[in-house]
Amino acid sequence: MMGTGGVVVEMKGIVKRFPGVVANDHVDLDLRSGEIHALLGENGAGKTTLMNVLYGLYRADEGIITVNGRQVTLGSPKDAIDLGIGMIHQHFALIPPMSVTENIMLVSKSEGILTNPKQVEEAVSELCERYSLRVDPKARIWQLSVGEQQRVEIAKALYVGANILILDEPTAVLTPQETDQLFNTLRQMKKEGKALVFISHKLDEVLAISDRITVLRKGKVVSTVDASQTGKIELAKMMVGRDVVFRLSKATVQKGAEALRLEGVSALDDRGLQALKNVSFSMFEGEVLGVAGVAGNGQRQLAQVLTGMRKPTAGRIFIKGRGITSFTPADLLELNFGYIPEDRIDSGAILDLSVNDNLILKVYPSLTKGLFLDRSAVAKYAEGLIREFDVVTPSGDSPAKTLSGGNIQRLILARELSLEPRIIVASQPTRGLDVGATEDIRRKLLAERERGSAILLISEDLEEIMSLSDRIAVLYEGRIMGIVPADRAKIEEIGLMMAGTSVKSDEEAG
C-alpha cells in the first residue's frame, strides 16, 4: 500500500445550521495527501453539507478550515478551486448542448480571452488517457450516459488542477465494471499524491477503495477508522445506529398471468442511433424481472418505450393480449402503470409544487368538487400517504424541492404504489439513497410483488438485481443477452453477459 503523506486539509469544529436542523455539529475532519478518505453516513447525515462547506458552497456558522497549513475563508467554489479543491456533485454541472471540450473550456482559467479548442481538446485527451477516463472530447453532453458525464466532471476538475477531489456518491450511477474503472482512476490519482474524499453509503465499495473512513450520523462524527481495521457489520451499525439486515427475505409468490409482452421492439436514442435492438420478453404478475446492464446500454430507452415517452421503430407491445405499437402517458394512467423514473428530479416529481400537490398528480381529477380542487380532501389524501410511506417533510404544503433525495423517492413511491399498479417499471429505484431508505424501498417493491404486480426492475446495482429479481435479463448494446432465473444465476455469468458475451440462458436451453 502507498504511504499517505501530510495533512492537506483540516476542518475543525465545523457547525452548519439550516432552519430547524443542525446539519453539521462540531465536525472534525482531516485529509492527507495520497489518501482516499471515505465519508460514510445515511442521507441527511451531513456528508454532502460538510463537503459543500469545504467547496465554498455553504459558509460554516462555526469552525476553522485549514488548507495546506493556511487558515482559509471559502466564500464560493471559486475560492475552493483556486486552492486546488474540486468537487463532483451527484447532479452534474454540465451544459447539455455543448461538447465535452467546450464544457471543460468554460472552467479553464489559464487561457486568455481567445482559447484554442484544439489545444484544449488535446489536453483533455491526454488527461483522459493518463487517468483512464474513457470519454470522447468531441461528444455533446446530452449524448452521454450518466457514467460518461461523470468522467467529464472528473476531467474538468483535473483540468483546472484539483489536488483535493471530493466525489459525492460517485458509484451511485455506475455499474460494477464502470466502478472498477473509476477506482482505477482514483488509485492513479492517489498515487500522484492527490487527496480524495469519497462520499458513499455502499459499504463494500467504501471498504474496497478507502484508506480511512469517517462515519457521520445526524450531523456528528461517529468515528474515523482505518479501512483495514474495520468491517461491514461494524460500519453499518455506526452508520444507522442499530443492526442492519443485508439480505431481504423474499416470500414465495405464485407466478401469475402474463401482464406484458414485448416482441421485437427496437428504438432509437436521442442521437438517432439504434438503442434497442429486437428486444423481446414477457412480464408476469407477481414477478420481478430484473434488467441488468452497464449504463448506457439501452436501459433508459427501454424505460421510455414502456412509459410512452419514446416511440419504438419496430416491434409490438402486448398488454393482456392486446397488441399496440406505442402508447401515451395518458394511456398508461388508464392501464394502471406505475413508473418510478431513473431521473427523479426531472421526471419523477415537480419540485416547485408542494408535497401535497405532487402526491395527487395522478389522482387529482377524483379530488375535485366541480371545477375546483377540494383542498381538504387533497390534504387528507396526502396526509395518509405521507404517514404510510414515511415521507419526512415539515408539512404537506412545503415545496417538494426542500426534501432530501430519499424522501423525494418515498414521495414518488407513495404516489405510484398507492394506486396499486398492475405493472411497475422501476428505474434505478434506490440509486443514491442511504441504507435505511434503500431497505425501505426494496421492501415496498417486494410487497407489490406479493400483491401480484408485474415489476420490471431496471438497475445498475447488481446486488439489488440479484436480491430482488425472480428472473434477470441482461441488456448489452440494446440487445437482451439472455434471461436467467435469479436463483440459478451466477454473478460471473451475468458479468460476462453485461460485457457482451452471450451465455446460453436456461430458457433458451430448456
Binding site: G75, L332, S347, F372, L373
Partner: protein, 354 residues
Amino acid sequence: MDLPFKVEKRPPAPLWLRVTAPIISVVAALAVCSAFILYAGVNPLYGYYHLFAGALGSTLGLSETFVRFCPLLFCGVAVALAFTAKFWNIGAEGQLYAGGLAATFFGVSFIGAPSALIIPLMFVSGFLGGALWAAIPALLKTKLKVDDVVTTLMGNWIIWYFTSYLLTGPWKNPVTVWPESPAIAPTAEFPILVPGTRIHLGIPVALFCAFIYFLIYARSSWGYELKAIGANPKASNLMGINVTRGLVTVAILSGGIAGLAGVSELGGIHHHMKTDLSFGFGYTGIVIAMLGGLHPIGVTAAAFLMSVISTGSQVMYRVTGVPYPISQVIEGMTLVCLLLGVFFTEYRIRRTRD
C-alpha cells in the same frame, strides 16, 4: 475577485418581509426616479405630490385612473395566466389589436342593432380575435417547438401593421379621412356607469376577468394543471397531464382576455379603431404580471399601481412640467427594484472577514 462582501442564500424570509418587499420596492423606485425629476428642474416631493394627488385626489383623477386600470388589468391578467403555465406570451399588445379589429368589424357593420345584441357580440368576437392571435404561437410552440417569445412578439408587429393597412386603406374613415375606422354604431358604445366620468362597462368586465383568474389560479384543478405544466412539463406529461392541450387552452384564454382590452378601449373610449388604440398596455401587462408575482390579487394591485403612475404622470406633467415619459421610467424602475426586492428575500449580502 476579493470583494469585501459575499452574496449567499438566506433562510426563507418571514412572511411580513415577503409581503412588504413589493411596497418597499415601489418606494425605492420612486426614490431613484426622483433624480430624474430633479434633473427636470422640479422638487421631487412637489412632483410626486401632484402625481398621487392627480391620480387619486379628485373624482376626475380617480375616474381617469380607473379608465386606465381597465386595459392594464385585462393585459396583466392575460399575461399572468399565460406565464403560470410558462407560455411566454409577450404578445398581449398584438392580441389587444386583434380583439379590437374583430370587435370593430361587428361594431361598424351592425348599425341599428340593439346594444344588448351588439355589445355582447363585440366582446365575443374580440375575445375570439385575441384568442386566435395567441393560439397560432401556441400551436407553433407545441407542435413545432418554435420559440413562443419570438412568435408572440413578432405577432404584435404583424397585427399592428395590418391594422395600419386596414385603417389607411379598406377601413379608412370616409368622413374624417383620418387613419381610423368609421365610428362604431351608437348602440355599440359602452354605457357610462358613473355619469360625468369616462368609467365604462369594460372596467367591471376586467374585474370579472381578474376574479375568474383568481378562481382558476387559487382553486381550480385546471389551474393546478397549469402550475404543474409550468413547473415541469416533462414530469406533467409523464403523469398523464395533456401538456399540449393545456398550453393551447391557456394561450386561447390569455389571448382572449387581452383581446377584451382592445374591445373595451374601442367600445368604452375611442369608438373608432385606431393605430394607437393601446399605449403599450400589452407590454405594461408583462410588468404588471411580474410585479404581481402572477398571483391574481397581486396582479390586480399592480395594475392599479401602474394606472396611478400613468394617470398621475400626466397631471404631474401638466402642473409641474416633468415630461410624461417619466411614467415609463418609474414603471421600469419599479420592476427592477421589485426583482431586487425578491432577490433579497432569498439572498443576503454578508461582509467577509479580513
